[in-house]
Amino acid sequence: MTRFMKWLGVVVVIFIAAPLVIVVPMSFSTARSLQFPPPGYGLGYYQAYFSDPSWLIPTWNSIIIATATTVLTMLLVVPATFALVRHQFRGRSIADLMMLMPLAVPSIVMAVGYYSYFGAMGIVHTHIGVVLAHTALAVPIAFLVLSANLKGFDRTLERAAMSLGASPTKTFIHVTLPILRPGLIISALFAFIHSFDETVVSIFISGRNAETLPRKMFDSIRQEADPVIAVISTLLFALVLLGLVGPRLVAALRNRRPRVQAA
């Protein structure tokens, strides 16, 4: 049984890895369309991506929108998280639950709502509209990450600082923030990625002036399966790899440094 489970596990590893691996060779293909094995290899589609405004503008839009979403999300979520984690008050558990609601409602439902509501406000197809929608949807994720960090926070350090005469503000700036920094960064990163990846709401509300990369990709896959998508997929994939392996690599190199010096 256990051996069988192991082999099944290996098959699953292949199943998970194959789609991630396949887009890489496709992105270097010279074929006009999806063709395997590629008839030749080249950088043609990379060149096409980096020179075509119809791909670069959505990429840029996505970066701007995700950045603005991150800033807005953090401005709203950080104080609220402090309130919810550190203070006891009536209605706290309900407030806790409400924070998670945007994650519980299916995206397509929100897409219907934003399409009509922002339409009435005249902000569909604008950066502002997409940022507002993405912020509402990113709140739960940023909150979950940050509150987990804050719950594990050792408050004796703050008390120690205060007992040594530091004002609450000073304590916050010199003790609380530095310790929370990794949590804040990860929380902000999650908000950024959530906005950058968000597809369904963007499809409906990011129009001509604020078209995001996922919307452009969706349209392109639906309409013509343009091989440039393989390029973007490879680039996004490389970013994820870098984000996951990078920190570990840096840590490993740091640990190794003394030994390298010794040698």
Binding site: L8, P106, V109
Partner: protein
Amino acid sequence: MTGLSNMTERKNLWPWLLLTPLAVFLVVFFVVPLIDVAVMSFTEPRLTFANYERALTGTLYQKVFINTFLTAGFVTLCCLLVGYPLAYLMSVSSQRTAMLILLLVTMSFWTSFLVRTYAWMVLLGTNGPLVWLFQAVGITNPPQLLFTRFSSTLAMVHILAPYMIMNIYSVMRKIDPVLVRSAESLGARGGSLLRHVYLPLTAPGIANGCVLVFVICLGFYVTPVLLGSPREQMIAGLIGTQLDEFLAFGMGSALAMVLLVFTMVILTIYHRHFGLDKLWG
């Protein structure tokens, strides 16, 4: 005495002050749009219950709802069948192997839905690697894979499996090897080891993973639209068509509300038993 109570009073104002900006924001940009959907479902094109009547009794809509539930159930089951062995493999492998597999799963998790959907389009296409493989082993007339129920289901399982794997792995790695060994020494082997040791201990992870996968799958838009055929539409795709093709906001909203209610019922049941914050935690 009075001073102290004053302090508590003041202290109690703080959380509200800190919460207000977010609360106002969520009301204006989350709750109101959601209410708008609810209102539209009764008022578009005129004050009526007809949208609901149609959404719940029309043959097309019933069919799509049933299909959505069956697909979500099937995808959840597949994710479990795929995720459990992998989580098991990770928990019994060396730390290094487990790390590598975890890295792979996390990578898949963080790679955009669209990229993974596109990858399946590449893999399953008429000129794709799978057909090429078929031909290499002598199958000259391979079956149509793309734009079928098979292709969209497969891609959804692939996209949602990481949720399941991570949930199960997080409980499985906490299983004490001593417990497993002592169970084995008492004669538990194979199936009975799985049934009496692993399943009960990993049940919370399974429940978490299943609810999460099922709920996400219920509202899945991108993959069924891109990889499926109109015969096996899911509800989110149909809502999209209502808006984009027919401009039927009322009907689209009614369908969205029905989807929302189903989702909320499932999540409420989960919340009663486990607490909603555990689901994504």
